[in-house]
C-alpha cells in the first residue's frame, strides 16, 4: 500500500502533465507503443550516465550535459530506427523530436541524478518513464476503442458509426482531466480514510 501511495504521489500524477505534448497523437495504441519504449530507454539511460558523472562536473556544465546527452541519444535512436525499422520511423515521423522534450521532463535527470547513485537513478528514470507510458497507453486505448471499437486493429465492438469526437486533440486533454479527477478523488477519499 505504501509503495502504491508513493507511485501515486510522486510518479504517476506529475507525469500526467508531461504527457500533454504527446497526447495529440495518442489516437491508437500501435502508434504510441514505440514512443513509450523510446522514452523508457532514453530516460533510464540518461539518468544512469548523468549520475555517473555527477561528481566530476559543476552544476552549470551538468545541465548542459543533460541536454546534450538526451538530444544525442534521441538522434542516435532516430538513426537506428531509420536504418533497421523504417516502417516504425515512418509511423512516428516528427514525434521522435517530441520524445526528447518528454524525456527531459519525465526523466527528471538533472535534479535526481545530480544527488543520487547510478543504479537508483536508473530505477527512478525507468519508473518515471513507465508511469508516463501507462498514462499514454491508457488514454490511447480509450480513444482507439471508443473511436471505432478496435484495439490493435482487432474489432472488439461492432459500431454502426465511428465516434469522431475521440479523434480530436481536445479529447485527449479531456481524458487526462478525467484521469486526474479520478486519481484526486481516490487520494482525497480512500487514502485519507486510511
Amino acid at each position: 500500500m505504501k509503495t502504491f501511495q508513493i507511485i501515486l504521489n510522486e510518479l504517476l500524477v506529475y507525469q500526467v502533465f508531461a504527457v500533454c505534448s504527446a497526447i495529440f497523437f495518442a489516437t491508437s495504441v500501435e502508434a504510441i507503443l514505440p514512443l513509450c519504449l523510446i522514452v523508457i530507454a532514453t530516460s533510464s539511460l540518461c539518468n544512469f550516465f548523468m549520475s555517473l558523472v555527477r561528481e566530476k562536473v559543476k552544476l552549470q556544465t551538468f545541465l548542459i550535459l543533460v541536454l546534450v546527452f538526451t538530444l544525442s541519444l534521441m538522434t542516435l535512436i532516430d538513426y537506428l530506427l531509420t536504418m533497421y525499422y523504417p516502417e516504425i520511423h515512418n509511423g512516428l515521423k516528427w514525434m521522435v523530436g517530441i520524445t526528447a522534450l518528454n524525456t527531459l521532463i519525465v526523466g527528471n535527470a538533472f535534479s535526481f541524478a545530480r544527488v543520487n547513485r547510478p543504479w537508483l537513478s536508473l530505477g527512478i528514470g525507468f519508473l518515471n518513464a513507465l508511469s508516463y507510458s501507462v498514462i499514454l497507453i491508457l488514454i490511447s486505448l480509450i480513444r482507439e476503442f471508443f473511436y471505432d471499437g478496435t484495439i490493435f486493429g482487432n474489432q472488439l465492438w461492432e459500431m454502426s458509426k465511428t465516434n469522431n469526437f475521440f479523434l480530436l486533440p481536445s479529447c485527449g486533454f479531456l481524458l487526462i482531466g478525467s484521469v486526474i479527477w479520478v486519481i484526486q478523488h481516490y487520494k482525497n477519499t480512500v487514502l485519507t480514510k486510511e
Binding site: 458509426k161 465516434n163 469522431n164 469526437f165 475521440f166 480530436l168 479531456l174 479527477w181
Partner: protein
C-alpha cells in the same frame, strides 16, 4: 448486481431526494437574519420552463409539418406511422392537429430519453456527494432536446446528455458552477462525434419567405426555427427579470454589425456574404440562441458592463461562423461556447478597468 447493491445501500436517500425534487422542501428559511426572497432556484427554473412552452408547441407543430410536406416517411413503416394511423390521422395532412400530434411523436422520445438519462446521472452524483438534486436538469434536458434534429437516434441523445451532465456540469461541482452551458456542451459533443447526425438539413438553403421564417415553418432543429415563439419566451423572461436585456440587445447589435460588414464586401466570393441582417435574424436559430442560450446567467458574464461585450462578440462570431462554414448548422452554438470560455476574462478586464478609473479619479482629486 452492482446496481442492485448500490440501490440497497442508498434506498432511503434516493427516495428522499426524489420526494424533495417533486414536492415542496421543508428546509426554507424562517428566521429573521436571512434575506427572504420569493425567487429560489426551483422557481427560476419553472419560469424558464414556462417561457419555453411556446417553443415546444411550435417545435412539435413544425416537425410534424415538415415531415408531412417533405413526404420523408411515406411508405416507411415505423412505430411512429403505425401509432399515427392508430390515432386516426393519415400522413400528408397539414392541419394543425395532424402536424402537432405527428411532431409530438418525434419530440417526446427525445425529451424522455434526455430527462431519464440526465436524471440518472444527476441522481448518481447526488448520492455520491450526499447533496440534493438540483432543478437545473429540467431546463438543461428541455433545451438539449429542443436543439436536436428530428431524425436523431435515441442512443445518440443519451450519449449527448450524459456528456452534457457529466463533463458540462458535474465535473465542475454541479449547478451554478459550470463554465459552459451544459446543453451546448452536449450538442457540441454530438456535433463533433457524429456530424452527419446533427447536420441533417441545409441551413443556408433559403427557399422560403420571411413570414414563414417568422412563424417557424422552415427546416431546422426541433425547437430553433420559430422566431415568434422565441419572442414570446423573451417577453416572459424579460418581465420576470431572469434574462438580461443587455445581452440580447448587444447580441442583436453585433449580428447587425458583422452581417452589414459582410454585405459591404459583397456576395462575389461567397453567396452567404450577401445575406442581409433580417435573414440572419429570422433563420438559423438566432432567436433561440439569443433568448435562451446566451442569457444563461451561470455561464454568461456577471458584470453589467461585461454583458454588452459578451453579447456583442457572440453576435459577431455567430455570423462569421455561419458565413465561413456553409455546411455547419450549429454556428450559434459554437459562438456561444467560445464566448462562455471568454466570459471570466471579460469580467476580469471590466473589474480591472473599473479599479483603474476610480484610482485615476481619486488621484486627480488629491
Amino acid at each position: 448486481m452492482f446496481l442492485l447493491k448500490f440501490y440497497e445501500q442508498n434506498k432511503n436517500y434516493i427516495s428522499n431526494t426524489i420526494n424533495e425534487l417533486i414536492f415542496c422542501r421543508n428546509d426554507e428559511t424562517k428566521s429573521d437574519t436571512h434575506i427572504r426572497d420569493c425567487l429560489d432556484l426551483r422557481r427560476v427554473m419553472f419560469i424558464v420552463e414556462l417561457s419555453l412552452v411556446p417553443v415546444v408547441i411550435m417545435a412539435c407543430y413544425n416537425t410534424g409539418y415538415q415531415a408531412h410536406i417533405n413526404h420523408t416517411l411515406e411508405g416507411v413503416e415505423t412505430w411512429r406511422s403505425a401509432l399515427f394511423d392508430l390515432l386516426g390521422f393519415s400522413l400528408g395532412q397539414t392541419s394543425f392537429w395532424s402536424s402537432f400530434i405527428y411532431g409530438l411523436l418525434f419530440f417526446v422520445p427525445v425529451y424522455l430519453t434526455s430527462m431519464l438519462v440526465g436524471g440518472a446521472w444527476e441522481l448518481f452524483f447526488a448520492i455520491m456527494r450526499r447533496k440534493k438534486i438540483s432543478e437545473g436538469l429540467f431546463v438543461t434536458g428541455l433545451i438539449f432536446s429542443l436543439l436536436m434534429p428530428a431524425s436523431i437516434s435515441l442512443w445518440q441523445v443519451a450519449l449527448g446528455i450524459s456528456f452534457a451532465i457529466v463533463i458540462g456540469k458535474e465535473i465542475y461541482g454541479g449547478t451554478g458552477r459550470n463554465l459552459f452551458n451544459p446543453a451546448l456542451v452536449g450538442m457540441a459533443f454530438l456535433y463533433y462525434a457524429y456530424p452527419q447526425a446533427i447536420n441533417t438539413f441545409d441551413a443556408n438553403n433559403l427557399n422560403f419567405t420571411l413570414e414563414q421564417a417568422f412563424w417557424g415553418t422552415i427546416p431546422g432543429q426541433l425547437g430553433t426555427t420559430s422566431f415568434f415563439a422565441c419572442l414570446v419566451g423573451a417577453v416572459v423572461l424579460l418581465i420576470s427579470g431572469l434574462a438580461s436585456w443587455k445581452i440580447m440587445f448587444s447580441m442583436l447589435i453585433g449580428m447587425f454589425f458583422s452581417s452589414s460588414v459582410f454585405n459591404m464586401i459583397g456576395a462575389g466570393i461567397n453567396p452567404l456574404f450577401g445575406l442581409t441582417p433580417e435573414w440572419h435574424l429570422m433563420t438559423g436559430g438566432f432567436a433561440f440562441a439569443c433568448v435562451f442560450l446566451a442569457t444563461d446567467p451561470i455561464s454568461a458574464t456577471t458584470t453589467e458592463m461585461g454583458k454588452y461585450y459578451y453579447g456583442f462578440f457572440i453576435g459577431i462570431l455567430g455570423v462569421i461562423f455561419r458565413v465561413m462554414n456553409p455546411e455547419s448548422t450549429a454556428f450559434w452554438m459554437l459562438a456561444i461556447l467560445v464566448m462562455n470560455a471568454m466570459a471570466p476574462l471579460i469580467d476580469h478586464l471590466v473589474v480591472k478597468s473599473n479599479i483603474y478609473r476610480r484610482q485615476k479619479r481619486e488621484l486627480s482629486n488629491l
